[in-house]
Symmetry: C2
Subunit: 369 residues, 2 copies
């Protein structure tokens, strides 16, 4: 193996002790040279391209954990080929799960990670020292006027970030450009009344070319953050979007849960490595079954010092109820953004009041902490 620091990936292998070593060796070939062992003849292929089993140990929960070292030359330092090396073909093998990865300094620097990170999101909102609050304008099917009116209502309630629902695209009921302009205007009007101007976060979704146009429009219109779903648009397209962005980017988890990835490896590390400034993930206390340990692991993976990359903001979400907000503040601490969506709209004539309750309960819980 060359002197460059390798990419390390940890996998769980559902095999018994008799087969573990051979299985790990097959995995190392599958992810790089992809030929039978007898065909690995060339010295450079063997020394500089082939993956290597660096560690193999029994997993306390059954099966084995294998740490593989891949020469980073195999990734070509490209975001798409990196995914290929991490979990391309082996994703088609039912006995493998991807648990963890360490890109090393050179690869991490090539990908770049968050360009704004937690500090950039706090600067956009003008908030220090407490958790941030976030809600979504929805549901899909509302007119632009109705969605903008909701945005204005949330602004008056004092929410920090008002984002598009991730299902708001360029649909007949509310075309993208019309919605972005109207929501920014509604928030500006609310700001004139109250002095509080939340960050409106348009949802960028589409093919790469459509996303580039939408991104340019949103930034020119004055959006101070944007959102995209890396697994829907493709992590490589998400990476390009982050590289180009002049404002922080929130990552939404749609289409991601189907992967046989440990949540902290996917939402924590990969999303951060590819440039997410904040990662939305389904939390305990939501309508998705995610345990507290997994949630803690995701939040820590996003925030802790890692690979020279900026920290990214954890955004627990997924149908969190107003009543749980203060408990979640205790759990996730200050460097987090709480996203409460539909629950704020439960009572048609009390959206402003419920939104104010949300803001108050987060601020109060933060003050107690």
């Amino acid at each position: 193996m060359s002197a460059r620091e390798p990419l390390r990936v940890v996998y769980h292998l559902a095999v018994d002790a008799a087969r573990a070593e051979a299985r790990a060796e097959v995995l190392a070939r599958e992810q790089t040279v992809e030929v039978p062992r007898a065909v690995v003849r060339d010295a450079i292929v063997r020394g500089e391209a082939l993956g290597r089993v660096e560690a193999l140990r029994e997993d306390p929960g059954g099966g084995f954990r294998a740490t593989l070292a891949y020469p980073i030359g195999a990734t070509g330092l490209d975001p798409a080929q990196l995914l290929n090396v991490v979990f391309g073909n082996s994703s088609l093998h039912a006995d493998v799960r991807c648990l963890d990865l360490e890109p090393g300094a050179e690869l991490a620097s090539a990908l770049g990670g968050p360009r704004f990170g937690i500090a950039g999101l706090r600067a956009a909102a003008g908030v220090a020292g407490r958790p941030l609050t976030c809600t979504a304008i929805k549901p899909m099917g509302l007119s632009t006027a109705a969605l903008a009116s909701l945005a204005g209502c949330f602004a008056r309630a004092g929410v920090d970030f008002v984002k598009d629902d991730h299902g708001l695209a360029d649909q007949p009921w509310s075309p993208f450009r019309e919605r972005v302009a109207a929501c920014l205007a509604a928030i500006a009007r609310a700001a004139e009344e109250t002095g509080h101007r939340p960050v409106y976060v348009p949802n960028l979704i589409g093919t790469p070319e459509r996303m580039r146009d939408a991104q340019r429009f949103a930034e020119d219109a004055g959006a101070r953050a944007v959102m995209a779903s890396p697994m829907l648009v493709g992590l490589p397209a998400f990476w390009e979007l982050c590289r180009r962005s002049s404002v922080p980017v929130l990552a939404h988890p749609a289409f991601a849960g189907t992967l046989r990835f440990a949540p902290e490896a996917l939402f924590g590390k990969l999303f951060r490595l590819y440039g997410a400034d904040a990662a939305i993930f389904v939390s305990f206390g939501s309508r998705f079954a995610q345990g507290e340990d997994a949630c803690r692991a995701v939040a820590e993976a996003l925030r802790r010092p890692w690979a020279g990359l900026r920290p990214a903001l954890p955004v627990p979400a997924g149908g969190i109820e107003l009543a749980s907000a203060s408990k979640l503040v205790e759990f996730y601490g200050s460097d987090a953004m709480l996203l409460v969506g539909g629950d704020l709209q439960l009572e048609a004539d009390r959206v402003l009041e419920r939104s104010r309750d949300f803001v108050r309960s987060v601020h109060a819980a933060a003050a107690r902490a």
Copy 2:
């Protein structure tokens, strides 16, 4: 629901009879309006955006099958938002699998499907009436000269398609442009000797911008087909690549197996809908555990008349051995492309002979059929 033909998606729900109806209704909201039922107040939201449970029946294997109808307005006729409606948030729910989808005529026409299809691939190779043969230059780590020499060898053996291994990217050992030019030249030299000129298929992998450059280079250099991995680069980026392509596009399944999708829905229908002219998939008789029924379903979903889209070519693969080639010809029939990779290189000094054996065995099996 509006008069436009809806998008229909079939899911498996791992629930008991007491919960089935409510679970399906929750799924319909999750994939569209994404709010509690009480928040679905607006008449247009309820009538034109909300998904609807169209059928619900017990699955003989346990659980329930739910057919949901989504207004196609919800997709915005966009490739990324379509994925979002099909399986965005619900991919994060462990009790749901996506089994099938029917886009309907308007959505199918908006996506467009294969631009060349089986006929275009046959025209590129100049082969009618028998299965096509394919192999891959590999392993990663070989120099451009060594890879081009393999391409020339496969050409002389009479293989129809010679493709890059899906792990060949833009790596130090063989940069993309250098490799494409050298392989096309090696195949042209072989064609002068033998009169047979196979189709060389470069692998396009990278971010959307890098793929666009690579695609332009490959087409200008004279490549008569290209390959990409839809799940690595993102299905929406793959769709744009297919729309732009002046040559047929082969789809590789890397990073796809992790999805909780029925193989025929993902590799058969979605890959075809998004524009794949041929879909490579792991077959029985390979190093991947895929049953014959699933393989038949994938092949049929690619080829049968569907939604007004051109048929796409099934490409069974995944470590098929030379000895299985004739059995696979019997199974898949004439409209298929057999991909045998590493096995042709098992003996260093007999690559040409083994490749000739592969070609002969496919031709002979086809003649017997």
